[in-house]
């Protein structure tokens, strides 16, 4: 919306947010909730986080960077393993028969339910967090890829077969474009799950750095302005991810393959 209408759209987008901050300030001034910091305090904290350096890198960047590194690692692993397994499940009847019940059971599980086990096996730290992110994305990527491949019109496959398409042609011209919508839908879901898993796992397996552990540690010191600063960081990160990464990617790929639904 902001892009289409230029400046006007941008302000129309901003006004409600500003009004929300105004309400926040009002609640603070009326002193209804004792622990609430003012918007100014939270943003001051945010600025000081961006200014304070440790080893030459601003604290803010350290936390965001660590989280970003973890989610990239976990999510790429999920994609690298999930898509091939999903294709296999979609193409092979037996693999599908064996794995489908398992996946439909595991899929709705909260990702963080695995964290206690991971904590016992791997302890606090990066490995646990990355695996939690991986698990968050892996199941929905695999499941959606398999559904996509199975949803391809059998006639198309038969037609290609009759006309003597090679295995490679079959893959690049029919299986890939045919399942693309579903694969992308799975990836999109998976980004959300991984993101949630990241913040949650960082709270539970706090290892010093990362936005989740930042907020969680702030609670232990009752540093409310820290917590709100962290909340704003997470809000911005999520928004940026949604707007500038997922939406353009979705538009480009799904539209280009001519597979828009509805």
């Amino acid at each position: 919306m902001a892009n289409r209408n230029g400046l006007k759209g941008f302000f129309l987008f901003l006004i409600p947010i500003i009004s929300l901050v105004a309400i926040w300030e009002a609640v603070y001034l009326m002193d209804i909730i004792k622990v609430l910091p003012s918007p100014a305090q939270a943003s001051n904290r945010l600025v000081s986080l961006a200014m304070t350096q440790r080893d030459g890198i601003p604290l803010l960047l350290r936390h965001v960077g660590t989280s970003f590194y973890r989610i990239c690692l976990g999510f790429s692993l999920a994609m690298l393993l999930g898509v091939p397994l999903g294709l296999l499940m979609g193409l092979n009847r037996y693999v599908n028969f064996l794995l489908k019940p398992l996946f439909s059971l595991v899929l709705p599980l909260p990702t963080l339910a695995w964290v206690p086990i991971l904590l016992i096996v791997f302890g606090m730290g990066d490995i646990t967090i990355v695996i939690a992110i991986f698990l968050g994305g892996f199941f929905s990527i695999t499941y959606n890829t398999a559904t996509g491949v199975r949803g391809i019109d059998r006639d198309l496959i038969r037609a290609a077969n009759t006309m003597g398409a090679s295995r490679l042609t079959m893959f690049t011209r029919i299986l890939l474009p045919g399942s693309m919508v579903s694969v992308i839908a799975g990836l999109r879901l998976a980004v959300g799950y991984s993101w949630r898993a990241l913040v949650g796992a960082e709270m539970l397996a706090a290892a010093g750095e990362g936005v989740g552990s930042f907020i969680f540690m702030a609670r232990q010191f009752s540093a409310v302005d820290d917590m709100f600063a962290g909340l704003v960081i997470i809000m911005l990160a999520g928004f940026v991810m949604e707007r500038f990464l997922i939406e353009p990617l979705e538009k480009r790929t799904v539209r280009r393959w001519g597979m828009t639904r509805d």
């Binding site: 009004s19 599980l109 339910a113 949630r196 609670r219």
Partner: protein, 262 residues
């Protein structure tokens, strides 16, 4: 006819259970083989035995979680559908709330937990509020998308033929946006469940499935953790099948609004 249907049901149940049994068997063998420490991967037989022995305790945890889920989720469903419909109906309401919703939606529900713990303390108020927040956004988002996607000529036609506001609402608006609203409610429920379990690990009181598995971690009781996970998976599948299965039949199938929603 009836016999055939019964046979089909038995067949589909069998094809669901059989691979799971096979999986349990493999797991059991691995666990006994001594390749991994049995404390990390306890055999399923032990997990189910634990489940049976601790059934009273686990049931209390489950009931505590379900109470919170029902309370938080039903509040979110009511508020979310109401807000979503007014957003879809009125341009200005949409203009105001859309930026707020789309900024707050990617924030993982668990982020609010440390802040709410400071305000509301440990326990039910925090857990219910976080569940509410987590499930509110998908409901609002999908409902408003559904209402605003109604074909305008349907509305015009109803209005020209002199339908009252109430008739338009109950005969045009509600049926045609029902598939979207149900999608939103479904997503909301899944998110509520995930978030609740996660937050129970952090803002733990004494009861709740999330608390149960996180507490079991402290004493390295892995079979308890797996037992908790099994309960979570089964319970959620039952909830989803029973509630949404019948709801879909009663509403969108009856109204002839069945559509493929990805």
């Amino acid at each position: 006819m009836k016999l055939g249907r019964a046979r089909g049901a038995i067949y589909s149940l069998g094809s669901f259970i059989l691979p799971l049994l096979l999986f349990c068997l493999i797991w059991e063998l691995i666990s006994h083989s001594g390749l991994v420490k049995p404390i990390l991967i306890p055999p399923p037989s032990k997990v189910f035995l634990e489940l049976f022995e601790d059934r009273a305790e686990i049931l209390t945890h489950l009931v505590a979680s379900l109470k919170r889920l029902v309370l938080g989720y039903s509040l979110a469903a009511l508020a979310g559908v109401a807000l979503g419909i007014s957003m879809g109906y009125n341009k200005y309401v949409h203009g105001y709330f859309h930026p707020i919703i789309s900024t707050l939606m990617p924030v993982p529900g668990i982020t609010w937990a440390p802040i709410l713990v400071l305000v509301l303390g440990f326990g039910d108020p925090t857990l219910v509020t976080v569940t509410f927040i987590a499930s509110l956004f998908p409901v609002v988002y999908n409902t408003s998308a559904g209402v605003s996607s109604i074909r305008k000529d349907h509305l015009w036609a109803a209005r020209i033929m002199g339908a009252s506001r109430f008739t338009i609402f109950s005969r045009v608006l509600l049926p045609s946006s029902a598939p979207f609203i149900l999608t939103g409610l479904k997503l909301g429920l899944a998110r509520a469940w995930r978030t609740l379990i996660a937050v129970e690990m952090i803002a733990a009181t004494l009861w709740g499935l999330g608390f149960f598995i996180f507490d079991a971690k402290e004493y390295l009781r892995t079979s308890d953790i797996y037992a908790g996970i099994v309960v979570m998976a089964i319970v959620f599948i039952i909830i989803e099948r029973t509630s949404f299965g019948t709801m879909e039949k009663r509403t969108i199938e009856k109204w002839g609004m069945v559509r493929d929603i990805g």
